[in-house]
Symmetry: D2
Subunit: 344 residues, 4 copies
C-alpha cells in the first residue's frame, strides 16, 4: 500500500508525542503536518515541544514547522488528534466540516450516537456508523477510540461476550502518563496512591457498553452489562492495571475463559495489529506494568490470575499500555482499518 | 495504672521495630526484654538490628541485650510477638505453655477456634474465648490481631454490621512495609504494581468473618458476609489503600452510613485508642496513604469517596497504617484492653 | 515572652504551608494574617489552598480569610514571606516601605549589600546590616535566609571556618519539595534523575560566601572560599543530600573536624533552635533523607562519611530538611533571633 | 563470521539475564550452556530463574537445562561470567585452568597484573596482557571489564587523555540494578538516597587508572590521574548518573573537549559496538537515566552540561546503562574484539 501523508493535532502533548514515535517507521502513514496551540505555531517542532519519550525524536519531525490547530490547505486528509478535551470539540468539528478524516483520542465526540467509538479487534463493524454520520453535512468525519482504561477493560471483556456478560466490578491502578503532561505533580504521587481520577469512572461505565454493543439499524445498541468502577492513580510511568470481577448469564468454565482469550482473533494485515490482542500469563504474579506493558509493542493486553470470585463468577487482572493500546496505538489501528476498508 | 515490664519477640524485624517505637513512651508498658533469632541473641540491640524507622531508636532499648526467642525466667509475663510465621507457631506456643501472655501479630494462631482474633473497638468481647482457651492446659495464653489489610477492612465494615452486611468486594493497594524487611526487592516494585500477595486474599476472606462474628456459647460464629478480595502491592512505604464495594440486607442511605462511621465508638481510657477509630474525609481525592496514614497517630482508619455502586449497594475507599493500626498498634491496644479488663 | 501576631505572604504555596505547620504551636508567634495571590484573596484558607502536608491544617488557620498580597492596616508588623521570586521583589519591597518587617525565604533581596542573608547559628551578627538598610528610607526592613541547598552547605561548613576554608566542590541530590508545587512533573522524576536546577548552582556558589563572610565597617565581606556546585533533582519528598569535598588553608585532622561539628553552638532560648545544629552520624550509610531529614524537628543538619579526599582535603555527606531548616524553619529562627535582640 | 556456542556463568542473576537478553539475536555468539549455583543446576532455566527483564525470555533459552558452575566437557570454549564476586574467584580460575576463555564482569581478577581490564574502545590493546597471562600455566584465560560506574567514567575520560588528565572528582547517582537481585530493599530506597555503596569508591579510584593506563614492556602502567569518588544509590532502575569535575595538565577549550568526545572512534565491524561510544547532549537538563540510558541500545555513554569548574578546569554530567555498557554489553564487546583479533 502506498504511503500517505497524515497530520497530528495536539502534536506537542503526551499522546501527540506517542503518535509521532509510533508513526516514525509506519509503512502506510507519513507524518507531514503537525498542529498545536498558538504558542507553538510557527516554531520548529524541536523548539516547540520538550520531547519526553526515551524513543528518539526523528530528525525529519524535529524540523517540521508546527502549524496552528485549524483547517488549512496544507493539512493532510487524515489527521490524528491527541488534543486536550477542553479544545478538541471545536477544533475536531472544524476539521471534519472542512473535509478531513479525524481519528481522535479525545473524549468529546465518543458518545455521540453517530460517531464510531472503536477498538478494531472488538467492534470494527461500528465503522458502519459513518454512513449515519454523513448526514451531518460534514465534508469529512470523525472516528474515536475509548478512554485508556476503558480500552484495556473492553479488550479483556470482548472475547467473553459469548457467555453473556452481565456484571463487572473494576478497580484500576492507572499510570501517570494517562494524565498527560505536566499532569500529576510529583509531590502528590511519589510513594502515594490517589484514589480519584476526575470523570474516569463514568467513562468506563458508559463507554464500555457502547464499544461492546451491536450495530444494527443505523445505531449502536449498548451492551446490557452493568459496570461499577473505582479508579486510582499510582506511581507507574506506563501501563494501567485493572482488578476485575465478572458475572455471566451463562457461567463458563475457567478453561472456556482461557480458550476465549486465546482465540481472540488478531487483525491480519494491519501493520499495528499485534499477533495476540489478548495474552494470558500463567505466572501467578503477572501481569505487571513494568514487565508486561510493552508486550506486543504495547498493543497486547495482558491478563492473568484468573480464579473464581465468591461474589460474581470470576476475577482476574488485566493490564495494557495506556498511551499505546489505550491511546495513540489504537487510533492508528483505527486508521489502518479504515484504509483497508477503502475509507481513506 | 502502674507501668509493667513487657517483652517483644521478633524485636529486630519491621513489626518488632514498630513495637519499640510505639512503646517508647507508653504509660503502662515498658520494654524490658527483647527476643530474636539465635543470630541476634547475645548482642546489644543496637548491634543486632539495623534500625529502619525515622523515629529515633531510644537509647535505653539500644543498650538492651537481645535474648534467644525462648521462654526464660527473665522474660516478662506480657510478651508482644512480631515473629515471622515460619517460626511463630512453635515459639509462641512454648511461651504460652510456660505461662506468658502472648499478644501476637503473627498469623499462626489467628484462626484457632479458642484464640481471640481481635480489634478492640470491633470485637473486644472475643476476649471471652480465653476461658475456652484455658482448657488447653497452657499456663499462659495467646491473643492475636488480624492481618494488616484485614484490620483496615474490618474497621471500615464493623460500624455497618447493623445494616446486614451481605457481600463485599475489595481490591487492595498495599504498602511495602507489610512485606517486612528486606521484603519486596526495589527492582520489582519501583514504578510498578505487583498484583499478587501470597495468601493475603484468603486471609481477608476468612479472618474478616471471624472478627465480625459473634461470641456465644463458648465460640465465635463467623459473620455470614461473603467477601471477594484481590490484593496488589504498590510503591508506598506505609498505608494500605482499599477499594471496597458493599451489599447489605437492609440497604441504608448514604447519610446512615456516614452516621454509622461517625458514631463508631472509641475506647475510653486506653492510651493507644484514637479519638476517632474511623474518620470520613469529605475531599473527593482522599484518603491517600502519604497524607492520611498517620491520622490519629496511625490508629485511625480513614474512609472516603462514598457513593452508590451499580453492582452492590455502595462503594468507597478505606485506608489505614498497616504497621501501626494494622500490626503493632492494634496489638498494643489488645494488651491495653486486657489490662483494663484485669487480665494482665 | 508574649505572643505576637504574624502574617504569611505566599501562604498557599509549599513554603507557606510549611510556615503554617511550624507556627501552629509556636510560643511567640501567632499566625493572624495570610496573604496570597488575587485568585485566593477573599476566600477562606481552606478553600483557597489545597493542603498538602501530612501534618493537619489547624482549624483556626483554615477559617482565616486570605488577603491580597499588599500592605494594609490589617497586616501584622512581622510578616514571613514564602512568595515566588517572580513577584517577591515588588511585594516585599512594598511591605518594607510600609513599615513591616519582612522575614523572607525568597531570593530577590538576598544578595543586596544591605540585606542580612542569615542562618542564626552561622551569622546572626549580620543583623547589624539593618542599620545600613535603614538608610534606604524604608519604614520597615527585610531579612532573608539562603536558598535551601545553600543552608545545608553553610551549616556544614560554618564550624570549619576556623581551619581556613579555601575550596569546596559539591554535588547535590535535591528533593522535589524544593521546586514548590506543582513543581516537578511526576513523569519527569519518577525513577529518574534530573541533573539541572535552574539558577541553583550559582546561588550556592555566591550565597555561601556572603553567609560565611564577616561583617565589618558596615558591610559583609564575602568569605574567600571558592565553590564549585553541580545540582541534581531526585525522587525524594524532603531532604537535600549533598556530596561535599573541602580543602583548607590549615588542614585539620579528622578528629578536629568531628570536634568542630560537635561543638557548633546551639542558640539558647530560641524555640525553633535545635539542640544540635549539626549532628555527625557514625553509621557508614548515613545520613539518608528518609531517615534523617526530620532530625531535630527538621532543624538539624546531619553529616556523615567523613574521610580523606585525594583531591582536596576531606570529603563527606551532608543532609538537611529543605523546607524546614532550608526555608520556613530558618526564617522563623531568624525572626526569633530578631525578637530576642529587641528588633521586634 | 560463523556463529559459535557460548556459555554463561551466573546465568540466573541480574547480569546473567542481561547477557541472555543481549545475546538472544547475536550474529556471532549463540547461548548454548548456562551455569549457576547448585540450587539451580538440573532445572530448566525457566524454572530455575525468575525472569526480571521486560525483554522476553527466548524460548530456546527457557528450555535449556542449567548446569553446575564447574568446568565440564559440555561447556563451550567461550564463557561469559556474571558470577557474584563471593564465588567468581574460584570458579573462573577453574574454568581458565580447564582451557576456557572467561570473559568476566566480576571484580575478582580485574586488578591482577596479567589480566586485561578492558573497554574495547578505550584500551583494546590491553589484550596484549594475555601473552603475559599465558605464563600462569592456565590452558585458558580470563579477560575482565570494569565495575559499572567505572566504565561510564572511563568512557567519558578516555577521549580527554590527550589533554593530560590530572585530577578528577566524581559523585555518582547509581541505579538499583547495579546491586543485583534482590539487591536493595524497596523500604530502603523508595523516596530515598543511600550515600554509600560498599567498595565502589575504591573501585572507581583504582580501576580507572588501570583502564586509562598504557601497555608497554609486558605490563600496564596505570594512568597518573588522581580520582576522588563519592557514590550514592538512587531510586532509578537502570543508568548511572555521574557528576564529574576534571583538571588537566594542558587545559583545553570547551570546543576542544566537545571535539574530543565527538571524534571518539567507534569500533567498526563489531556487532555490539555503537556508532557513537560517547554522545554529547546539548539540552541543558540532560543526560537523564530515564531518557538516555538506552541510547545506542544501551552502549552509548551520554555526556552533557559541560562548563567551567571554579576548582578544577571543567565539570560535566555523564550517564551510561550500568547493566549493558557497564556490565554484560561491554563484556560481549570484549569477546567480539577477541574474536576479530583471532583469539577465539
Amino acid at each position: 500500500m502506498t504511503q500517505i501523508n497524515v497530520g497530528i493535532l495536539g502534536a506537542t502533548g503526551m499522546v501527540g508525542q506517542q503518535f509521532i514515535a509510533l508513526l516514525s517507521r509506519h509503512p502506510w502513514f507519513k507524518v507531514a503536518w503537525l498542529g498545536a496551540s498558538e504558542r507553538s505555531a510557527g516554531k520548529k517542532y524541536r523548539d516547540a515541544a520538550a520531547w519526553r519519550l526515551s524513543a528518539p525524536l526523528p530528525d525529519a519531525i524535529a524540523d517540521l514547522e508546527v502549524q496552528a490547530a485549524a483547517p488549512s490547505a496544507s493539512a493532510p486528509q487524515l489527521v490524528f488528534s491527541g488534543l486536550d478535551s477542553s479544545v478538541a470539540g471545536e477544533i475536531e468539528g472544524a476539521f471534519a466540516q472542512a473535509g478531513h478524516t479525524i481519528v481522535s483520542n479525545s473524549r468529546n465526540y465518543r458518545m455521540e450516537a453517530d460517531v464510531p467509538l472503536m477498538i478494531p479487534e472488538v467492534n470494527g463493524g461500528h465503522l458502519a456508523l459513518l454512513k449515519v454520520q454523513s448526514q451531518r453535512g460534514w465534508k469529512g468525519r470523525i472516528v474515536t477510540n475509548p478512554n485508556c482504561s476503558t480500552v484495556v477493560l473492553s479488550m479483556a471483556l470482548a472475547p467473553l461476550r459469548q457467555f453473556g456478560l452481565s456484571k463487572v466490578t473494576i478497580t484500576t491502578l492507572q499510570a501517570i502518563s494517562g494524565a498527560g503532561y505536566p499532569g500529576v505533580a510529583s509531590w502528590d504521587i511519589l510513594g502515594n496512591v490517589i484514589p480519584f481520577i476526575d470523570g474516569e469512572e463514568q467513562k468506563i461505565e458508559t463507554e464500555t457498553k457502547k464499544i461492546l454493543g451491536c450495530f444494527a439499524n443505523g445505531r449502536v445498541d449498548p451492551h446490557p452489562v452493568v459496570i461499577s468502577a473505582q479508579t486510582t492513580r499510582v506511581a507507574v510511568h506506563d501501563g494501567h492495571t485493572e482488578s476485575i470481577s465478572v458475572g455471566f448469564d451463562h457461567k463458563p468454565t475457567e478453561e472456556q475463559l482461557l480458550q476465549a482469550w486465546a482465540s481472540f482473533k488478531p487483525l491480519d494485515g494491519l501493520p499495528t495489529a499485534p499477533a495476540h490482542p489478548v495474552a494470558y500469563l500463567r505466572e501467578r504474579n503477572r501481569p505487571q506494568p513494568a514487565l508486561d506493558a510493552h508486550r506486543g509493542d504495547g498493543m497486547t493486553v495482558s491478563v492473568g490470575r484468573l480464579r473464581p470470585c465468591p461474589i460474581l463468577d470470576y476475577k482476574f487482572i488485566a493490564l495494557g499500555h495506556n498511551t499505546i493500546r489505550g491511546a495513540a496505538g489504537v487510533a492508528i489501528l483505527n486508521a489502518e482499518l479504515m484504509r483497508r476498508e477503502g475509507l481513506l
